[in-house]
Each structure stands twice: as C-alpha cells, then as structure tokens.
C-alpha cells in the first residue's frame, strides 16, 4: 500500500472554544492595533524627522523658537495639518504602546483597569487640548506687546 505524501492544509479558521482567551466580542481589535502601530509609525518617522529638522537644524535652530516662530508656522495651513496629524498619530501610537506595557506588567485586574483609565483620560485631554490650540490659535492677539508678535500682524 502506497503511503500518500500529500500534506494536509492546516485547519485554520476555527479555534476550539477552550483555547480562546476571551469571547468573540473583541473582534479583531488587537490585529487592527498591531497594524496601526506599523502604519502610524511609518508616517510618524517622516512627520517627526521633518518637525525636528525645521525647528532645530534650520537657521538659528532652537534659539529661533518663540511665540512669533510658532505663530509664523501656524499661519500656514500646511504646518497646521502637519502638526495636527503628528499630534493625533503620535498620541494614539504612544497610548497604544503604553497600553501594551500596562497589559504586560500589571498583574491585578484592578491595577490594569485603573492605569488604563488614567492613560485614556490623559490621552483624551491632550488630543482635545492640542487640536483646539491648533485651530483656535490667534497669531496676533490683541493687547500683546508688538515686538513679541510675528511681523505680519497689523500695527496696533
């Protein structure tokens, strides 16, 4: 009798319930989180390297940074969108990274829950605050000393 050399395909697609660690309600959130880390990471390399080069390497570098410098950048929608994308992607990327670390090292359910609650609250505050600042920012605030403002502001 000839022995078949055919190798069966793995029985993928179904895991016996006793081997799953949680109900099916989680869906594929963890896979999407894993994929998000790679995609956002790739974009963040470009956004953050550009940010560091323009703010630290060009011209006077760090000495040039003051209110007028920031106002001059955010007068241009290009830098508003750049910084907005950097804010959201970096905060979500960092939050998911810290979430992973909390899940790895906090053993007790209660500890994990509270650490993640604090993390998500901090993330929400920072993302909302940063977004509001980028879009409600006035480069020429009234009653400010003219020498602190960018050159395009009308004379008081």
């Amino acid at each position: 009798m000839a022995v078949s050399s055919e190798i069966q395909a793995p029985r993928s697609g179904r895991v016996a319930p006793k081997y799953t660690r949680h109900g099916s309600s989680r869906g594929n959130f963890e896979m999407l989180a894993w994929l998000f880390m790679r995609v956002s990471g790739l974009v963040l390399v470009v956004l953050i390297f550009g940010h560091l080069f323009v703010n630290l390497m060009v011209g006077e570098g760090v000495h040039a940074i003051d209110f007028g410098f920031v106002a001059g950048k955010w007068a241009d929608p290009f830098w508003q969108i750049w910084d907005l994308a950097m804010l959201w992607l970096a905060m979500l990327h960092g939050t998911n990274g810290v979430r992973t670390i909390i899940n790895d090292y906090a053993d007790k359910d209660g500890t994990r829950f509270w650490l993640k609650t604090v993390l998500y609250a901090a993330t929400a505050v920072i993302i909302v605050l940063g977004t509001l600042v980028i879009f409600t920012f006035n480069p020429c605030p009234p009653n400010a000393a003219a020498e602190l403002l960018p050159s395009f502001c009308p004379a008081p």
């Binding site: 790679r38 630290l56 006077e60 760090v62 007028g68």
Partner: protein
C-alpha cells in the same frame, strides 16, 4: 564549572535588547510628548507665557536633555522600521540581528551631524 544554578533570566541578545530599547525609549518619548503639548498650548494663553517657559529651555542643560530626546526618537524610529521589516519582509526574521546593527549604524550616521549642529547652536549661538 560553577556550582550555582545559572538562573532563569532570559538573555536574548540582539532581539531582546532591541525590544528593551524600543520600550524604554517609547515610554520616555510618550511622557515628553504630554509635556510638549502642554507647553505649546501656552501660545493660547499669551505670547509672554509661552516665551517665558520656552526661555527656561534655552540653556546647556536642556540642550543635553534635548540631545537625549532626539537620540531616543531616532533609535525608536529606525528600530521601528526594523520591526516592520521583520514583520513584513520575507527574510526579515532571518536577518533581524544584522538589521539591528544597521539600526545602530544609521543612528550614529544621523546623531553625529545632529549633535554637532544642535550643540554648536546651543553652546555658542545664544542671545
């Protein structure tokens, strides 16, 4: 041969140390980012408030901290690209250790000119 047991500490060479480095730099960058959004938000308070806080950053000590921050960011960026290669490139897992030496090499290549420029500006270009 030593009579004491070798212990159970995992010593994973390049793979483990790059993982440790990625975690440590990632957490450090995250906490910096929280502070960085808060200090930048001061532009919404007043030009004076923003300038006063930024002025406290313009000294040699903070320049060294900034250099450390950029060193952490550049490592995290290049090692992140290595992780992507390990995950998506067919030969990534086979060459993961060599890829780490590529990360270290690129890190040196970027950090040397960065440090020369940034520290020159910070230590000589003050107003």
């Amino acid at each position: 041969m030593s009579k004491t047991p070798a212990g159970t500490l995992y010593r994973g060479r390049e793979g483990m140390w790059s993982w440790v480095g990625h975690r440590v730099t990632g957490v450090a960058i995250f906490f910096f980012l929280l502070v960085h959004v808060l200090d930048t938000a001061l532009v919404r308070v007043s030009p004076e408030a923003y300038n006063v806080v930024i002025a406290t950053y313009k000294n040699p000590f903070m320049a060294l901290l900034e250099a450390g921050l950029v060193a952490a960011i550049v490592f995290h960026a290049f090692n992140g690209l290595r992780v992507i290669l390990v995950d998506f490139w067919k030969k990534g897992p086979k060459y993961q250790a060599q890829l780490l030496w590529g990360v270290v090499g690129l890190w040196v290549l970027v950090m040397v000119p960065f440090l020369i420029r940034h520290l020159t500006l910070a230590f000589t270009g003050g107003h």
